[in-house]
Symmetry: C2
Subunit: 326 residues, 2 copies
Amino acid sequence: MAAQRLDEFERIRRFFAPLAAPGALGLRDDAALIDGPDGQHYVLTADAIVEGVHFLSDDPPAQVAQKLLRVNLSDLAAKGAVPVGYMLVTALPRARDEAWLAAFAAGLAADQVSFGIGLLGGDSTATDGPATLSVTALGRVPAGRAVLRSGAQSGDDVYVSGTLGDAALGLQALRGELAGVAAAARDFLAGRYRLPQPRLALGQRLVGIAHAMMDISDGLVADLGHIAEASSVGAVIEAALLPLSPAARAIIAADPLRLSAALSGGDDYELLFTAGTEADAALAALAGELALPLTRIGRIEAGRGVEVLDDRGEPLAVPVAGYRHF
Amino acid sequence: MAAQRLDEFERIRRFFAPLAAPGALGLRDDAALIDGPDGQHYVLTADAIVEGVHFLSDDPPAQVAQKLLRVNLSDLAAKGAVPVGYMLVTALPRARDEAWLAAFAAGLAADQVSFGIGLLGGDSTATDGPATLSVTALGRVPAGRAVLRSGAQSGDDVYVSGTLGDAALGLQALRGELAGVAAAARDFLAGRYRLPQPRLALGQRLVGIAHAMMDISDGLVADLGHIAEASSVGAVIEAALLPLSPAARAIIAADPLRLSAALSGGDDYELLFTAGTEADAALAALAGELALPLTRIGRIEAGRGVEVLDDRGEPLAVPVAGYRHF
């Protein structure tokens, strides 16, 4: 089960983990595996977004729809799965008008084409509170080949796709907290916050290469902590290796404290994975083929927890709490 | 997709039906079918409940959990499916205390044992609004054997399981609107409202017998209307044939207008199905075996819509809107 707050993890552990079915992976993988046809497993994952917590009332409805779908597709990507379809549950204020719904549905329609999925069903109800939207997404992966969080091994390299911190800086930009940043950079960062790109092609190609994988939704350090915990290992990150977009690099150069966006900021939805050192050349080739940076940012070691080192090799204090939404 | 309000059906038709995947049955069956292993189909269904709309803040949390599960299991029953597991999405007020969660989880745990299912995953988030809870349930049925809403044929008999109107009268009792009714009767009716019994064994046994089936959640007339529309037929109900519990029978005898609870009241979660007249003896035997009344209440005819006849064979005016929650 996904969770945005640390105490949610504790709640899940205490109250829901004892209810987990055999395929539920102890509720630690944001995904369940059940038998499918033809030697396949279905991957099931669910994510909810709440108005005022995960999106703003005046966010464009098409983008709200697409973010809802994509955060779920990102969880499928992290298992190496191919998307199949989704169930949609909407609880909408009675006053929500049809123009909003039409734009919301148009956003879904566009992403259905982009990602080759269809709507399987769901429920639609009214609420007196904020809009609450959830999707249960379904993917498929060859049986036994899904990449779990629990496979990291001491000696593995730690990799991330794309760039880190853009979404957190994008949210700061939308809040008007990034004075002095060029409009083009602000737009780029806001776009990264509003419309994640699920790394589906990458995830599918990492089956058989990655030992452990997840997507970054709560922040790099928190999420790598989940892999470390599930794998009973420790991890070390070198801050100097973190891949940054030009926009993020400029902002952090001007204000080094903003590096926390890359370490602890959520919502980037890049893939975080570990692989043996022998995979180095294959990953470089894959990065070129997909035109997507795959950057080694650290390593897996015996031990526990996540340590971040600065450019002198000294431990850096990092806020450990997962990203908190506005 | 389920929907509690007529305009929700129209919204689904306009905005969501065009997005439906091939297995989604046009979003008309509250269920989707996808390929499973070993010649099986998986049945997927989702239902959400909102605090203040579908349950009350002071309802016992274990019963809220069980109602949430059971309304979904009831949709599986209506397809003839065997339950497999479920995904749970909770959006809970930040102040919801751990005692509430513990009791909620205990309710889930008890029903997991009762119905042979496990928790597959989900999401857990916070909301500033009312608690919003949803489940996507998964069942299995031999491929091609799921009972749909679209199979009713002119000449079929229309049947319901159990008794009708209890849940609507139970809600009236909980609201204090049933003065002069004995405490034992009130408790029985309130229990029928709070804790539906998904008719899983019946649904599975009706595979190959029922031509069309659904569960009664919006009210008999509205739901039979869904079967009639999906099957392009009409239906006639004889009010005198409606099966009533002793408690409901006494209340309706004292106030005949309360018959609307049985015709239009929601939340009974009994199975409504049609079958050829040759199934009569088999259904009588099945009712005895399951110790569950199966009552013929009318017939399917050429035409469209649902007509209700009184005991003189005259048309009865019935509120056609689906059941509205408090």
